[in-house]
């Protein structure tokens, strides 16, 4: 079984977000970049399935050279080899084309992604890749099991879940609690250095969307405290002042 795990490179979840003075880009000063947390579920589940079924796990990232430390981290966690598509990930469609091209080239059976990247919060790439390749996408999945060429998945829907069965090849986007994400161990870190990391140039059409400006949400006014003794007054404020009940 050939697994492809797509990882994006995002600011650590605890980052205080700030932008450059023209509000066109993230101010990267002091920001630590990590593997998108959802993609860690995809990576760990792929490694678990490989250990059970045999095969190979490739990680792929569309990004510039500064993402390589996180690609190496994915190799240290247990992926066998890696591909970096050497381009700035300008939008979801651009990224999806690169992934689809890699799948055509490498003939992967299961393409695993995260639910969404926590920077753009797109929830787009997995659907686009499925459509570009004409194969199903199951998103977001909380469970993934594989038997022969068939996978059984649990897909989260508003207010419940669906049990879905699909044949390979397919795309799946992973969400907790699919597995317990692994962290690299010493041996993993040592071997990661020598695992193959192939750099390829991008193909396909240009992006279809373009960010013109970022903005921070308006500052909160500050909290209005109500004494616990007269807690009931809160309800009056919610009706008469905030007008939400």
């Amino acid at each position: 079984m050939k697994f492809l795990v797509c990882i994006s490179n995002v600011p650590d979840t605890t980052t205080k977000i700030a932008f450059t003075p023209d509000n066109k880009e993230l101010n990267k000063a002091g920001v630590q970049f990590v593997i998108n947390p959802w993609d860690e579920y995809a990576l760990t589940r792929a490694i678990e399935l490989k250990e059970k079924l045999g095969g190979n796990v490739t990680v792929l990232n569309v990004g510039e050279a500064d993402t390589e430390p996180n690609i190496r981290k994915a190799l240290a966690i247990g992926a066998d080899d890696a591909i970096r598509v050497n381009a700035k990930p300008t939008d979801a469609f651009f990224v999806a084309q690169q992934i689809a091209a890699a799948v055509k080239e490498g003939g992967y059976d299961i393409i695993l992604m995260g639910k969404e990247s926590i920077d753009y919060n797109g929830f787009q790439v997995h659907g686009m890749v499925g459509e570009l390749l004409g194969i199903p996408t199951v998103a977001p999945a909380i469970k993934l099991d594989v038997e022969g060429n068939t996978a059984t998945l649990e897909r989260e829907i508003e207010g419940g879940k669906e049990i879905v069965e699909v044949a390979t090849p397919f795309v799946v986007s992973c969400q907790e609690p699919m597995c317990e994400p692994r962290i690299p161990n010493m041996r993993g870190i040592m071997t990661a250095r020598t695992k193959p990391l192939k750099v390829v140039e991008p193909t396909g059409e240009a992006a279809r969307t373009q960010v013109t400006e970022f903005a921070l949400p308006p500052k909160k006014q500050g909290v209005k405290l109500i004494p616990a003794e007269s807690a009931g007054d809160l309800i009056k404020l919610l009706r008469n002042e905030a007008k939400v009940i």
Partner: protein, 325 residues
């Protein structure tokens, strides 16, 4: 040219988020001087679909094929693409739901459209460019995005639009068929398992949420959360550690690794306000925090707060709501 709106239905009713989407779409149609047509998916009734006139929809297309009752990505995508073709739709508006986003991303490739998800405001026409505002960085920021090309797909974040109510307006409902075949249902679910919802209110759709954290001490105390939720007509939610230890089901946990909610009112009871929790709730309109620790970080993100013991405060709040009603 027209605007096509995807309306999700469940148990015969139009979902609340789809009323918002319909209102969004009809206002876009008005801006562009064109008509707003809807295509309904899920289990609907013609009577309920006709009331979409109140949200500014003139016509609703509906395929009552029973196989479309539950979400099937392949079939839904084909159905909506066919409706877009028939109506020469240039703009497709759908909900930023698990269904909307899944279908929207496939459609964008099939129809060669540009796509924006998580959209929070009506579009602006800026020097001939079509610009939408969307949430980014897990609710910590917004971005303005140009959608280029002839066709555009917009997935609207829940609770970012006040639904229109043009009383008395009705939409015409037309039967519509996309000639779906068995292969379009290849990814149909084998089984659908719906969760019990407290008071029947679905968390992702709720406009009020009462949420409990580790400060609630144990599942046996959840009646305090449920009583307040019931009095308010709110859904219940929890923090991640609470669902990790099975005090509450997984689908109730909000935050970065759980679901994202953006209700009008979010009441956090005994939750510290870790950044990963805030990521799931920080776009709520009004946040109320009840915590016995005045230093709890959540107070910084709150509009109203009570420094106090949840076991003392919650019954008082429930009582006050009952008196108000």
């Amino acid at each position: 040219m027209s605007v096509l709106i995807v309306v999700e239905c469940d148990n015969g009713e139009v979902k609340k988020s789809s009323l918002e989407v319909a209102s969004y779409g009809s206002q876009v149609a008005q801006m562009l001087g064109t008509t707003a047509t809807a295509v309904a998916v899920g289990e609907a009734t013609e009577t309920n679909l006709a009331t979409l006139g109140e949200q500014g929809i003139s016509k609703v297309l509906y395929d009552n094929d029973s196989r479309l009752k539950d979400f099937v990505n392949g079939a839904y995508t084909k159905l909506i693409a066919a409706a877009a073709q028939q109506e020469s739709a240039q703009i497709i508006v759908l909900a930023n739901s698990n269904i909307g986003a899944a279908v929207g991303s496939r459609l964008s490739v099939r129809l060669q459209a540009s796509l924006a998800t998580n959209v929070v405001e009506l579009p602006k026409m800026d020097g001939g460019q079509f610009v939408v505002k969307r949430g980014a960085y897990s609710g910590k920021a917004f971005s303005d995005v140009i959608l280029s090309g002839e066709r555009k797909i917009i997935a609207v974040k829940k609770n970012s639009m006040e639904p229109l109510h043009n009383a008395g307006q009705t939409a015409t409902v037309e039967q519509f068929s996309a000639q779906l075949t068995d292969t379009d249902f290849a990814d149909a679910p084998k089984q659908v398992i719906m969760q019990e919802q407290a008071g029947g209110i679905l968390l992702p759709e709720a406009d009020k949420v009462v949420s409990g954290g580790r400060g609630m001490k144990g599942p046996e105390n959840w009646n305090l959360i449920e009583d307040l939720a019931k009095a308010l007509g709110a859904a219940t939610a929890c923090s991640k550690p609470v669902s990790d230890v099975d005090w509450r089901p997984h689908h109730e946990h909000v935050g970065q690794t759980g679901i994202t909610v953006s209700p009008n009112l979010y009441i956090a009871c005994g939750i510290s306000g870790a950044i990963q929790h805030l990521a799931g709730v920080n776009s709520s309109k009004v946040i109320v925090v009840i915590n016995k620790d005045p230093e709890a970080p959540f107070f910084k993100a709150a509009d109203y707060g009570i420094v106090g013991d949840v076991f003392d405060v919650l019954p008082k709040l429930t009582q006050a709501v009952k008196e108000l009603n």
